[in-house]
Amino acid sequence: MLFNSLEFILFFPIVATVYFVIPHKYRWAFLLAASYFFYMSWNPAYALLLLTSTAVTYTVSMLIPKRKTAGAKKTLLALCVTVNLAILFTFKYFELFTSGLYFVLDRLNVQYSPVGYSLLLPVGISFYTFQALGYAIDVYRGDIEPQRHFGKYALFVSFFPQLVAGPIERSKNLLPQFDEVHSFNYNNAVNGLKLMLWGYYKKIVIADTVCVAVNTVFNNIKVFDGLAIIIATLLFSIQIFCDFSGYSDIARGCALVMGFKLMKNFDHPYFSHSLREFWSRWHISLSTWFKDYLYIPLGGNRKGKLRRYINLLITFLVSGLWHGANITFVVWGAIHGVCQIIGRITKPFRDRIFRFNSESKVYCVRNGISVIITFVTVSIAWIFFRADSVSDAVYAVIHLFDWGSLSFSYIFSELKLIFGTRAEFYRLAATVPLFIVLSVFDRYKSLNAAFSKLRLPVRAVIYVLFVTYILLFARAEMQDFIYFQF
């Protein structure tokens, strides 16, 4: 059941209404049932995996505090991590592993036939596995008390708004909220619906619109010139942001309507001045997860510069692999890791050279340039994320500036090739520029705050026009959320 499907549009109001109508003591059970129903609408069998992951982490987390020695606790945690990662490996990475093995053995002239089995990747497996593991690690570290109520813990892992594409919630934030008594709150409901509306706008109007041109180019990358590749790359940057942050907004909005506050997952990432800042604004729940549960345990920045850089690189490589079982994602992670290392190495020099008064115009220009450089770097890295293979991505990067000419007819013919039809171009022209304007406005003056200051009739007109606009420009062919595959 996709957020952008008719089924969900019916499902959610029913769930929210029933949630407020039934007594508090039954709400967890109702939400749990609704969450499993939501998840099983993809494939009922995969609910077993969700249940297994839940049961294993719950059992281990209950046992850990009872073990007296650190070694015993560690063994239990290792068991929990192994089981969860084994499930993830089997369903997500086994094919990559066997094809990698085949590649290596083939070069060593060793006869090997890859095991041929195809399993459908369970939706959201990486998200709920990491959420459950985060909980187990928190219990192991003594940061939280284990949740004794199995039902509530199962709800924590399967809570439907964030089950399939995050945000990857922390137990400290979400678990206590299941014990709170949520009465209907007008502000929560309005703000939640506003967030959902904004999320839908980003997903079904912007992301699904630009994806047509992006797919045209990236699915046949070698047919296109540099100009088309650049346009497609920029559009993909918009697509992936709108797709993923749109999902997060809908998830946060749904939860907020029912009184749950999920963590913010995106905070204007394309306005970052550096890659480091980008990762504090992009997929925040995952970035902080990796920081807390991988980077810091590896030693973080406490063991010298070299070790710090290695830790950083490992974290980004794993992050890349988390995103998908393809070498392109690993390369994407590596690019981010290496660029961050370079950024950190060169920071002292750059700071010395570009030292300006923070109120001077030059400082503003420098900031603007750093935003552009960061955006371009991120966009180029997205090529590896989006391309079907590393060779396609390398081809795209090499041919970025391989333009025919700068004549109007050349640009026009390229645009025709990318967009296919004039209607497609009109759709893009009617949607993307408005989104960019709204995003810039939101970055510097909160859109929500500015909107709230307007008088009711004006707000009502804007609501009606905006909803109508979404209904008219929603893409006819429903697209999956990109992050579902992770």
């Binding site: 025709k416 039809t421 004039r422 209607a423 009109y426 109508t468 420009f473 006819a476």
Partner: protein, 338 residues
Amino acid sequence: MKNNCLKFIVKLAALLLLVCIVVGTINFAYVRGYYYRDVYGEIDKMKNVPYNITMANFGTSHGLSCFRYPENDKSKFNFALSGEDIYHDFATLKQFTSHLEKGCIVAIPTSYFSFCMSTDEPSQKRYYIYLDRKYIRGFSFESLINAKYIPVLRSGEFIIKDLIKDQERDIGAEMMDNSAADKESTESLTEVTGNIPAQSESGNSDAQLVAHAKGRAESWRSGYMVAGKIYTEKNTQLLIEMVNYCYDMGFKPLLVTTPVYYALNERFAENEINECYFEPINRVVEATGVPYLDLSHDSELSANPDYYSNSDHMNSAGAEAFFERYTEFLSEIGYSAG
């Protein structure tokens, strides 16, 4: 809390009502606009299919352009739709079976790409307008509501087209002048969106038709004939079922390959067109014994540029010449209407 809840519900209901009014108003204008009439106009005929039909044809835009019955003759009906695949031909036949007289002559024209059209893709929205739910492939209520009741939903770009009075077809004359590669990605959509490329009723010069044939062959090749081979078997079986269904219902079926300009035939290698088209259609003939009229390489019809609006669609003069040959063939095989 109760007051808050009531306030919320009232405001939300008022907002939804206003949205419905605005969307409804735009929808009212949209379905009367140029774009909607242009694309969905050809479906209108399906809303008024007469009964007691004694001669009918199905097929794609090729059938649409060749079978031109007298307007006031309600006993003959052209069911063809541009870009129609065999599955939807069959579905349309089943839907309107009760409109056909026993002994009705049912011509099933097929196009070079017919056997290579996808048999998996969900039905286009136009089929929701006149086909029963059971015939819709990948039925969804969302599409039903969108197609049948509120077509304006998700049609923003076409509203813009109407607003700025851009009556250029998505895939139109503008594209005809460009290279085949330009058209490759877009022309394949012609068949999907149901748009018939801009056509000239007055005929074309040989050079124009030759140029068009080049682009057309490329677009068919890239759009269907290469990747679509996996569908050949399924489409062949569907056509066999369709022919057998005609026999079971007491109709008189025949297969037809409509004429195409010689230059288009020249664009295809013999083994290529055999594999994609003639082998499957001959298998249908062998399996069912259905009469087959193949005018694709007819020396007279294929060579005359005055018969064509473009390299694969006949104009009215061409349609007249075609129909003469068609009726001759009907007498040869002993098919008489009724």
